[in-house]
Symmetry: C2
Subunit: 108 residues, 2 copies
């Protein structure tokens, strides 16, 4: 028995998950973690000009709470915190890559 593709239920099911990516900066943040890259808080501040500390912290917290990004704290002075994609977050890379390719087509 083949599994039929039901766009309606798929869209309503995917709806909840898509909301995890909503937010002014989340996809931008994820692009900087693309491909297994690891970033520190201060790295993001340099990589994403225009983002406020509040928004950076908030979006990172939400991504962490949603299981997309993991946060590693090194108990030392000065503090050091690293962010990377979780396993599930890594699974987003094909989508990120596809969006990147799509974006490039705009220029043409």
């Amino acid at each position: 028995m083949s599994k039929l593709y039901n766009p309606e239920s798929a869209a309503t099911g995917v709806e909840h998950v898509l909301r995890l990516l909503e937010g002014r900066w989340k996809l931008i943040i994820l692009f900087h973690l693309f491909d297994g890259k690891i970033q520190r808080y201060s790295d993001f501040e340099k990589l994403i000009p225009g983002i406020s500390q509040k928004m950076l912290a908030q979006q990172l917290r939400q991504l962490e709470a949603d299981g997309i990004v993991s946060r590693t704290v090194y108990p030392q002075v000065p503090p050091k915190v690293e962010y990377r994609l979780t396993e599930w977050g890594q699974a987003l890379c094909p989508a990120l890559d596809a969006m990147l390719k799509w974006a490039e087509k705009r220029e043409v």
Copy 2:
């Protein structure tokens, strides 16, 4: 000479394009146009419970203005309007598909 992948410039370049997809309902709408599907205004109202007429019209107008969705009006009574993806919009399908697959992994 190989073309080096520069994540920083890529992210800042892609940033503008990503904003075209922002909005509470846009991705949901696009999922219902996935794969060349054609929908009428009233179809969306049925397919997306909870969306208001205002938001539906607004998001469709923005997607149209951004060249992602095309709108075809049939001059007849009662009116008939069809929405479909533009050529560039179709190029989003791999990304939509990748997001769909990503969303499904959540269940597991």
